[in-house]
């Protein structure tokens, strides 16, 4: 079996002492920062990205992936223990998780969340391993028109499914594309939008925008929030779920995983959509829906599994097609490029150790989360009590050093300050910066493929609709746009993502 052969190869890579160590560091640091209030997974990955510069590419990606799902896991922990979602995806977990905690069953909620996440992680590792290669093989045959249309589809779905106003999200994608092409044009060498700064000749650094908007911007936003957060922790209680708990959780975990995996592959679907939908399904199929909201274990098991499945399956389009399906995946894609790896279907054939090693490490990382984090809950709880006024200067330190060390340039730090201000302005105007990030990462590739496609077709734009695969992507993009503009869908969409 090809699949098992590949997975064994992957485990061989991931289980090397160095990679296990980086996976461990990633998971621990990710959880640590994920637990701290006011820092989401995106800001965490952006801030810690520069730490991986001197690490070999495989280990760097393994560590970043560990940080990512560690941060997600940390977010769930805070929602259960203190009713304070670390990120939007954990909002749903708060409902029943916190109620369980108030009934003295926080330990069980945490354990079920960990077990559900681990199950989802295991299934999705297999899904990535199974569907990755055929997808990448298909994509290897793509020409420029297919690539352009695929990216168009990715960007449209990302904008449409992102949180907030659809029109603004589409505009933010375009703004991102524009920011992405700052610097020397690969074709003509003309320096575009550099305003005479030689530092911009290679384009705006990816870390600058990510840290500026998501770390610095978030700090400004948190400091502007007049609400003082009070942390109230309850007793954790026994960690061991009863047989009855397990029985009640099995079906929700499976349903949550399936739903999360399906939604996860779609670009732009935030994990909050998966968690919200899975919670609604559980409430529908439950014999006694009134238990929900009062500490129903299904209300923790299903969304937590969906959350993790979604997060993991986001790696499929990123690794096989080079298309980021979420903001964090855009950061991962940027990390690949920083390490000199061209993202796309070629990664699997040219860097099999990276592809399979990363997949195997996800499973190992998920296992580490279960084994290590449950006993460490006491430590995470005490971290929750660190006041934000002592945290944010540390975030600023990491941000500043991270940006500066990328090119040893003060200019980059100034630029990040500017993007911090822009980031807060965008937030206030209701423009989500995540679609901008996807556009930014894809900007140069979109232009390059558009240029090449039109060269091949001798300037005839119909090339995008006469080639069948490209046509299919275009039709899907248009369909999504049209469906989302229907008034009924528009309203429902507002309910879910708003």
């Amino acid at each position: 079996m090809e699949l098992f052969h590949n997975l064994i190869f992957g485990f061989g890579v991931a289980l090397s002492l160095q990679n296990v160590l980086y996976c461990f560091i990633g998971v621990m640091v990710g959880t640590l920062i994920g637990v701290l209030p006011g820092i989401g997974p995106m800001a965490t990955v952006a801030m810690l990205l520069p730490l991986t510069y001197n690490v070999p590419p495989v280990a760097a990606m393994i560590m970043l992936a560990g940080i990512y799902y560690g941060a997600m896991y940390g977010g769930s922990t805070t929602s259960i223990l203190v009713n304070l979602p670390g990120e939007t995806a954990s909002v749903i977990t708060c409902i029943d998780g916190y109620q369980m905690a108030r009934q003295g069953r926080a330990g069980v909620a945490l354990a079920i969340s960990a077990i559900g996440s681990f199950f989802a992680g295991t299934v999705c590792t297999l899904i990535v391993a199974m569907f990755g290669p055929p997808l990448a093989n298909m994509a290897l045959k793509f020409g420029s028109p297919e690539y352009f249309s695929l990216m168009l589809m990715g960007l449209v779905t990302a904008a449409v499914l992102a949180q907030g106003d659809m029109l603004k999200s589409l505009a933010m994608v375009v703004l991102g594309l524009l920011l992405g092409i700052v610097g020397s044009d690969v074709d003509s060498g003309v320096k575009r939008f550099c305003f005479g700064f030689y530092e911009l000749a290679d384009g705006i650094g990816f870390v600058i925008i990510a840290v500026g908007v998501f770390a610095v911007g978030e700090v400004i936003s948190n400091l502007s929030d007049p609400e003082e957060r009070t942390v109230f922790t309850s007793r954790v209680g026994s960690l061991y779920p009863t047989l009855q708990d397990l029985k009640q959780s099995i079906a929700p975990i499976i349903r949550g995983t399936a739903l999360g995996a399906f939604l996860g592959v779609l670009p732009g679907t935030t994990p909050s959509i998966a968690t919200f939908a899975s919670y609604m399904i559980e409430k529908k199929v439950a014999k006694d829906p009134s238990r929900f909201g009062h500490g129903a274990i299904e209300g923790v098991a299903a969304p937590e599994s969906a959350n993790n499945a979604d997060a993991q399956c986001k790696f499929i389009p990123m690794l096989t097609l080079g298309i980021p399906a979420s903001g964090t995946m855009a950061l991962m894609l940027g990390a690949l490029m920083i390490h000199g790896i061209a993202p796309g279907p070629g990664v699997m054939t040219q860097k099999p150790d990276l592809f399979w090693g990363l997949i195997a490490s996800m499973w190992i990382g998920n296992l580490m989360l279960v084994i290590l984090n449950l006993p460490l809950i006491g430590m995470w709880v005490s971290l929750l009590k660190v006041p934000y006024r002592m945290l944010f200067p540390a975030i600023m330190v990491f941000s500043a050093i991270g940006i500066y060390s990328t090119n040893n340039a003060s200019f980059d730090v100034y630029l990040a300050a500017l993007f911090g201000i822009l980031g807060i302005a965008w937030r206030m105007f209701g423009c989500s910066p995540v679609p901008m990030m996807l556009g930014f990462v894809l900007g140069p590739m979109v232009e390059e493929n558009l240029r090449r496609a039109l060269q091949v077709s001798e300037g005839d734009p119909s090339v995008f609709v006469t080639r069948p695969i490209s046509l299919a992507f275009i039709i899907v993009s248009v369909l999504i746009l049209v469906v989302m503009m229907l008034p009924a869908v528009k309203k429902r969409r507002g309910d879910i993502t708003g």
Binding site: L51, L175, I181, F193, L223, P393, S410, L418, L450, R451
Partner: protein
């Protein structure tokens, strides 16, 4: 009652997009536009700029109809102090070295919060500076002078 334009968030979002789009198109006039067959460096930015203006106009139109207000509050202090802290860090890295840059960064950042307790901030500055030197200079081996001239 609809709020004034200065508080209308869609109006401002749209105006910002129109502004950026127009600037992009204006600057891109200096780059060769080319043709569809041979796209010049000006082709893509001009198209994107046009799209931004179009989106901007739509969003302004939506805003004039719905009149949604800008949400959330903004701490002017944080908006000024945090970017300032970064700029100070950048300048001091060039002229004074890693430690002075860090001290300025932590101190000015901390001063942008709601509460400012001098002793606590001083302690935090020392702890974060020592930890950063240990992690980044000794641990990761970043080649920055701790204090220039020493």
């Amino acid at each position: 009652m609809k709020p004034g334009l200065h508080k209308n968030k869609d109006f401002w979002a749209g105006m910002m997009l129109i502004g950026i789009g127009a600037a992009a198109m204006f600057i891109a006039r200096d780059y060769r536009f080319g043709s569809a067959l041979r796209m010049g460096p000006g082709f893509f930015p001009t198209v994107l700029g046009g799209l931004l203006i179009a989106f901007g106009i739509c969003i302004v139109a939506v805003g004039l109809r719905s009149g949604e207000k800008i949400q959330g509050s903004l701490s002017l202090r944080a908006l000024v102090m945090l970017p300032l802290a970064l700029v100070l860090f950048g300048i001091l890295m060039q002229v004074a070295g890693f430690i002075p840059a860090l001290v300025a960064l932590v101190f000015v950042s901390a001063a942008s919060g709601r509460e400012f307790k001098l002793m606590e901030v001083l302690l935090l500055t020392v702890v974060l500076t020592v930890a950063s030197v240990a992690l980044f200079i000794w641990g990761l081996g970043l080649p920055y002078p701790l204090i220039k001239g020493f």
